[in-house]
Symmetry: C2
């Protein structure tokens, strides 16, 4: 099962050199989950040929324009494309009023159902299960209410171990029971635990998204040992004071979080427009956490099994 993150935009608020504001598409198997929806999101969704009909869930981190101004246009276009399937949106309190106000003032009447879930919890909490993923949200420290997201692939169905069929002379009902996760007792009365009947399960891969946030060690427990972490890195550390004041992070701080959380790989983005050359941000982060990449529009990061 594929687990890919496509970067559709990774700049901060003010555009620079055709770098679009934040939007990502997480594709697990054939399901697309959008994270944030900055202005122009639908243009890049079209440009990179993201299947719109496969978008069933949109996660919004917070209501700053560079994360949400592309949402009304996308939702409207989905309707014009003939969408009928319900769409689920998750975001902080206020997102429902925002969408409804924009639609009311711009004469939008969607032809499909939109279900908007407003988040207002502390700690990490599972917010939904999709066909392929379990999505959890956790609060982050930014200037306004903001949530990070942890996307975990769902456990795949159990496969029977062919050697076990022979060894324990399993019949069809026993095989079915084992695939459903049950242990069995043989005709001779011997108890066989489930893990001896099925093939070892692969680890469930996880992707963690932390943008926008100040440097915050509280995040570590939420994203611990994630396979891939996206963490904002708006500034170089020489502007740490400005980062803290604006409640953003530096590249070094992003790497410190990755290191503390023992993630496998870090990707950074949400660049200030002051940086024409983004390599300096990667270099700074790599010095603390080597397996780091800056993201560029169009990049795909795959989490391998």
């Amino acid at each position: 099962m594929s687990f890919d993150i496509r970067i559709l935009g990774a700049n901060s608020a003010v555009p620079n050199k055709d770098r679009f504001p934040t939007c990502q598409c997480v594709s697990i198997h054939n399901e697309n989950i959008l994270i944030d929806c900055g202005e122009g999101a639908q243009i890049n969704i079209s440009h990179y040929r993201i299947k719109q009909s496969k978008i069933r869930t949109i996660l919004i981190s917070h209501l700053h324009g560079d994360h949400v101004y592309g949402l009304p246009g996308l939702l409207n276009s989905l309707s014009m494309f003939g969408r009928k399937e319900v769409l689920q949106i998750y975001g902080p309190v206020g997102i429902k009023d925002f969408i409804e106000a924009v639609f009311a003032h711009t004469y939008v009447h969607l032809q499909y159902d939109l279900t908007i879930h407003e988040l207002d919890h502390s700690g990490i909490s599972e917010i939904c299960k999709t066909k392929t993923a379990i999505i959890s949200a956790f609060p982050m420290q930014h200037r306004i209410p903001t949530y990070g997201y942890l996307i975990t692939e769902r456990a795949q169905s159990l496969n029977i171990n062919p050697l076990a069929i022979e060894k324990y002379s399993l019949d069809i009902p026993q095989i079915k029971a084992a695939k459903a996760g049950d242990s069995i007792t043989t005709a001779g009365g011997i108890f066989i635990p489930n893990e001896k009947l099925v093939l070892a399960q692969k680890k469930q891969r996880t992707y963690a998204y932390c943008s926008d946030t100040v440097y915050d060690l509280d995040l570590v427990s939420y994203i611990y040992q994630a396979d891939l972490l996206y963490h904002e890195a708006t500034y170089l550390h020489e502007l740490q004071e400005k980062a803290a004041e604006r409640m953003h992070s530096t590249a070094r701080e992003a790497a410190q979080i990755a290191h503390a959380a023992e993630v496998s790989k870090l990707i950074i983005g949400h660049y200030s427009s002051r940086y024409d050359d983004l390599q300096v941000l990667e270099d700074e982060a790599k010095a603390v956490f080597h397996n780091t990449n800056i993201v560029r529009q169009g990049d795909i990061f795959s989490i391998e099994n």
Copy 2:
């Protein structure tokens, strides 16, 4: 004095092949007037290096998303760029509530003054004078309240005719009077009308913007003999019924309006995403009005003196 129209987007609502929704920048001398502000406007303003500090006026035709969803992001970015100068926005009733609602829900506090003028008049009416232009607005027939715009360059100051100085022995006060547009009476009591004292004035160039609109001959009197007309041409005429139903125009209809209004040149846009090849729209219009061009993102159309 230059009079240029830069196309920053010319697609209709749904994106296709990187064609952005509607936005234009009219530059007269060193002043920029934006017309419409579809999603992504600020990205192309940056891409095409439009001087943001020279944007003092924004004209919005109507409140459909493909003409207005780029406005909040642009206004916010201008503030982040440090703008202090007042910005004037003109548009149909509702635009003030739209902007204020978006800003309230997305925590925007501009650092400059925004003056929003809501239009609600019939017929053509002058709405403002800028340093270089006189701007008039006229209602159009679309699904929601919509205004077209006529931008006329302001008369340049009168230049004295050197031959007249000699012929009528003009003194300094008489020259000043003539340059101010007055006629004079010579010491000998002879009346000299102003046009004999100054150089012939160049014609004041005009640009007319009609999008979105159904085919509507009422427009002809508003845009009569404009130097350049932008008229929407969402469909080919084979879809005339759909155009009328959606209150849009076909390429042939745009050309018919240009012909009836005796404009010098027609440019067409606001293409439906169904057209990958836009040349067919130009061909259809040219059959009725030869001096027609389709517009493409980044194009500049200059109105020569």
